[in-house]
């Protein structure tokens, strides 16, 4: 329960902090930290325009996308406290329930019959496929290291192991961070602020969504950011008491947001044709973690 409250409160400011960082770094005055939330609240008050080409898929997809992200959130633990749902192999459920949302967002983009949105859908399907192995191998190595197969137990046992495991946690944080960028269509992969539909991935998929539905999609995006931030936090906090871990949680979330903003201010998006290779290369970082685990366990001789 604690993790849900924390993630939701982090979701309130995460994107705002990113935008604020970007505005400071680029010398603009910029909107306030809560602006994205205000935007979403405004969207929730609006009606919706549907294209005549679309069917019930298009109307149902934002709801399902949003609920899938909520379900994923419920699985994420926080330190000693389990997520609302916790069982052996819950990280598999985590990845697959997010896939359900992705499936619907892809087909809802195709439902509009627009060539731009079809393009975005095609890219999203391809890239999310390549990002998945990195996550699974990462969790597999963690499972191997700790001998556990559920989020909370893995993170708890990670903390009890040798200090070297924190070095691995750093690498893991990198992988989770990159998966976060891919899942949220952020900078090295996708540029949320681009002006040309041809160069977008996620933004172009939701071109036709408006009003309440767009609000659902955007708020799901905010929560998704905070979920991955929470996973990174979990890699480090282990079994520390709450009075340390809760401030740490917010500190790490803000740090992740600031880093994201920094990257977006100083980097250009990768060429679309190189994205797939780049994402798949993440898997090799996961492999590095795997071999690190093997060394820790003394299986390499």
């Amino acid at each position: 329960m604690l993790s849900v409250i924390l993630i939701l409160s982090a979701a309130l400011f995460f994107t705002g902090v990113i935008n604020r960082t970007k505005s400071i770094l680029t010398g603009r005055k910029g909107p306030g930290v809560l602006q994205p939330v205000k935007d979403i609240i405004r969207l929730f008050k609006k009606g919706v325009v549907y294209s005549t080409t679309t069917s019930f898929i298009f109307q149902a997809a934002p709801t399902i996308y949003f609920s899938s992200v909520i379900m994923a959130m419920l699985v994420v633990p926080f330190g000693q406290s389990k997520g609302l749902i916790s069982f052996q192999g819950d990280f598999i459920f985590f990845a697959y329930v997010l896939a359900l949302g992705k499936f619907f967002s892809i087909i809802s983009a195709m439902d509009t019959g627009s060539s731009f949105e079809g393009m975005g859908a095609s890219r999203e399907a391809l890239y999310s496929m390549f990002a998945e192995p990195a996550f699974f191998i990462l969790m597999g190595s963690m499972a191997l290291l700790t001998g556990q197969t559920s989020f909370q137990e893995i993170f708890a046992d990670l903390h009890l192991g040798s200090p070297i495991s924190y070095a691995l946690a750093m690498l893991a944080a990198f992988v989770v961070g990159m998966v976060m960028m891919i899942e949220n269509s952020r900078m090295p992969i996708d540029d949320p602020k681009t002006h040309l539909e041809l160069t977008m991935i996620h933004e172009v998929m939701i071109l036709d969504n408006s009003g309440f539905d767009l609000g659902l999609i955007l708020s799901a995006g905010l929560i998704k950011f905070a979920i991955y931030g929470a996973l990174i936090v979990n890699l480090f906090i282990g079994m520390f008491p709450y009075e340390y871990t809760i401030p740490m949680f917010f500190a790490i979330q803000v740090m992740a947001a600031v880093i994201t903003g920094g990257i977006e201010s100083f980097m250009a998006r990768f060429r679309m044709s190189h994205n797939a290779q780049f994402i798949f290369a993440l898997t090799s970082v996961s492999l590095l973690i795997f071999f690190g685990v093997l060394m820790l366990l003394g299986k390499f001789i």
Partner: protein, 675 residues
């Protein structure tokens, strides 16, 4: 005993009556025969699945010896599946065949073959005598062949059917070799002889025997590289036959492999590694090729290869568990495999049935020509969507449950593995994850292009939904899938007996052994139900919030362009273009295009074809080589009767004289030796 006689009697009566009925009754008679036989075999199946093994011995004949019929939990599980798919398929087929009602003779043949197909499938799952098994196997293949070539006036259909027939007989050769080997050594055709034989073997004998059977059954199941018949035969057959072939017919291969695992006592670890290697390659290769197919049924056929790979992964993990003596891994592996067998039977048949609906309405299943069908065929689209989500292994449907079980098996194995197997497991996890992701790419493409957007082609006939009754079996399957997805514990408790049989635990040891997974499954069931609750809550909040607001409709945003046509939409080819570019080295992709040039371009075109590299190198090239060699003997087939009689005479002389010459030679050598 009497029930078996009734079973055979119903089959024969059906076959004899059907030619004399009118067209409408033919289908109903076939369905009725199948229902009666289902009740009979289902009665035994339930007993086998819940109670002890049922077995009795039929007297048999001089050639076969006594015919033991044993229905244990494994047979029971497969029998239930076969029966369910056959009833839904038969029901659906009644309506599907409506379009062909003026071809009375063809329908008679088809209905007869359909009954025989069912009876032979049921009997090969029950008998345990190698000769009778082979007869049933052959009957099954031949009746399936007749079912496939229903539209035999089309050359492509006939060619696909013959391709299937030939490749299936390679499978039979393997099986005959295996069975004969055993019966020569032990003098018995009973399956139990296989166990005694493999126990007496020292060295790799038992493993070699298993490999013989494995390759034989792998051809039937469609493991890569033995899959090449499958993508031809499935699209050629009528939709209900494709559904049944993909749903249960290829599963007889899986049944065979599992049966042999029960009978042959060999080194299970080695077997496990072999099966896993074949499986992961099948899974990846199947889905990789599925993505580039433009023919909807061919796409689904390649997906069967993929799913057989996933089932194989489960079996392989189970074998590893047996080999290392780890009950948990073994139960998880086999449970995953058996459950995925059922799941695949359900969603794949549903996908084939719905694609049949599309074919009935649009008269084409070329993805590139379809589009926007969801508005004209909402039920079909809805059912296809459910099956597509399920086959991608995504919750809340059944595909997720079996893939989850297999994943858990893999991660359990990870905990107790040595270095070499760790790297192997890593590859397997990578494979399974990629399979899932690629399946999602494939089915978003299939569903999105066929059902969503605008129609890509104007059909001259009305495109409309089939009759309501045709949808009943389809919704039944979908309901079943949702049940497995929401309440997996129920089905896993049914699985306990067959899994216990495979892991060698006759009792209910599975419960404590995998208590963790069981509790995980009930939490999954909670999580999935929770997801439904969350989705419904959000849905109602949205509905409530929107109750007074304006919901205007307008055209799709065309980024400023105001006159978009349906041809501007993304096509299936363009949807997977970046994927094809990335995998150029693995796929065999041909493009024919005429570029657009100049200010006033003339007509241009673009065409693409995907082909199978395995088929090119393992089938086409060798066949071409053999053909070019045999071409030199073409003069023998000169069409004159006299020479054919001469060949016959020469053959008879050869048969009589070669042994005599051999004997004489032997005597002569003996004589020389004595000298």
């Amino acid at each position: 005993m009497t029930l078996v006689i009734i079973f055979i009697f119903v089959c024969i009566t059906g076959v004899l009556i059907i030619p004399f009925l009118n067209v409408k009754l033919k289908g109903i008679a076939a369905l009725a025969a199948i229902v009666i036989n289902t009740v009979i075999s289902g009665y035994f199946a339930v007993q086998g699945l819940t109670g002890p093994e049922i077995s009795w011995v039929m007297p048999g004949s001089m050639i076969t010896g006594p015919i033991p019929i044993r229905i244990d939990a494994l047979s029971g599980w497969f029998l239930m599946m076969v029966n369910f798919i056959f009833i839904t398929g038969g029901w659906y087929g009644l309506f599907y065949m409506n379009g062909y009602k003026y071809q009375s003779k063809k329908i008679s043949l088809h209905a007869i073959a359909f009954i025989i197909l069912h009876s032979s499938l049921v009997s090969l799952l029950a008998v345990q005598n190698s000769i009778v098994f082979l007869v049933a196997w052959e009957l099954m293949m031949f009746s399936a062949f007749i079912c496939v070539i229903f539209e035999h006036e089309k050359e492509a259909t006939l060619k696909a059917g013959i391709n299937y027939l030939i490749q299936s007989h390679i499978c039979v050769v393997m099986l005959i070799t295996g069975f004969l080997w055993v019966s020569f050594k032990t003098g018995s055709y009973d399956f139990r002889a296989i166990t005694t034989f493999s126990m007496t073997q020292t060295g790799p004998g038992a493993l070699f025997l298993f490999m013989l059977f494995f390759i034989g059954f792998a051809i039937k199941a469609g493991f890569v590289p033995f899959h090449t018949w499958l993508p031809h035969a499935h699209p050629a057959a009528p939709a209900h036959i494709s559904g049944i072939m993909s749903g249960v017919l290829i599963k007889t291969g899986i049944y065979g492999i599992l049966r042999m695992l029960l009978l042959i006592k060999a080194d299970f670890t080695t077997i496990g590694y072999i099966i896993l290697t074949f499986s992961v390659i099948s899974g990846l290769y199947g889905v990789m090729l599925a993505i580039v197919q433009h023919d909807l049924k061919k796409l689904l056929a390649y997906h069967s290869v993929e799913n057989i790979g996933i089932i194989g992964l489960g079996i392989g993990i189970g074998c590893i568990g047996l080999g290392t003596g780890n009950q948990v891994i073994a139960s998880l592996g086999f449970a995953g495999a058996l459950l995925h067998t059922l799941n695949h039977a359900l969603f794949k048949s549903l996908l084939f049935y719905t694609s049949g609906m599309v074919y009935q309405a649009a008269h084409t299943i070329n993805i590139e020509q379809l589009g926007g069908l969801i508005k004209k065929m909402p039920h079909t689209a809805f059912l296809f969507l459910i099956a597509a989500i399920a086959i991608s292994g995504i919750p809340p449907f059944n595909g997720f449950i079996s893939e989850f079980t297999i994943y858990t098996g893999l991660y359990q194995w990870l905990q107790s593995a040595s270095l070499n197997s760790l790297i192997f497991i890593l590859l397997l996890v990578l494979g399974l994850v990629l399979i899932g992701g690629l399946a999602m790419l494939c089915f978003t493409k299939a569903f999105g292009i066929v059902f969503l957007g605008n129609a890509r082609k104007d059909f001259h006939h009305e495109v409309k939904e089939g009759p309501f009754l045709q949808f009943v079996p389809l919704y039944l399957i979908a309901l079943f899938m949702v049940c497995i997805g929401l309440f997996p514990q129920m089905f896993l408790s049914l699985l306990m007996k067959p899994v216990g049989l495979l892991t060698g635990n006759r009792g209910d040891v599975l419960v404590p052994a995998t208590a963790n997974t069981f509790s995980a499954l009930s939490s999954i069931s909670l999580a999935v139900c929770g997801m439904l609750v969350v989705a419904l809550t959000v849905f109602f909040i949205r509905k409530w919030a929107m109750r007074k607001r304006l919901v205007p409709a307008g055209p799709t945003w065309g980024c400023g362009y105001v006159a978009p046509t349906a041809r501007l939409q993304y096509t299936a080819g363009s949807f997977v273009r970046s994927y094809v570019k990335l995998n150029k080295s693995i796929l065999l992709f041909e493009k024919k295009e005429k570029e657009v040039t100049g200010l006033f371009p003339a007509e241009s075109h673009y065409e693409s074809h995907a082909y199978d590299k395995f088929e090119k190198w393992l089938v086409d090239k060798p066949v071409a080589a053999v053909k070019s060699f045999l071409k030199h003997f073409l003069f023998l087939q000169n069409g004159s009767l006299q020479s054919y009689i001469l060949y016959g005479v020469l053959f008879i002389i050869g048969v009589i004289f070669i042994p005599m010459v051999f004997d004489a030679l032997y005597l002569f050598i003996d004589f020389l030796k004595r000298l």
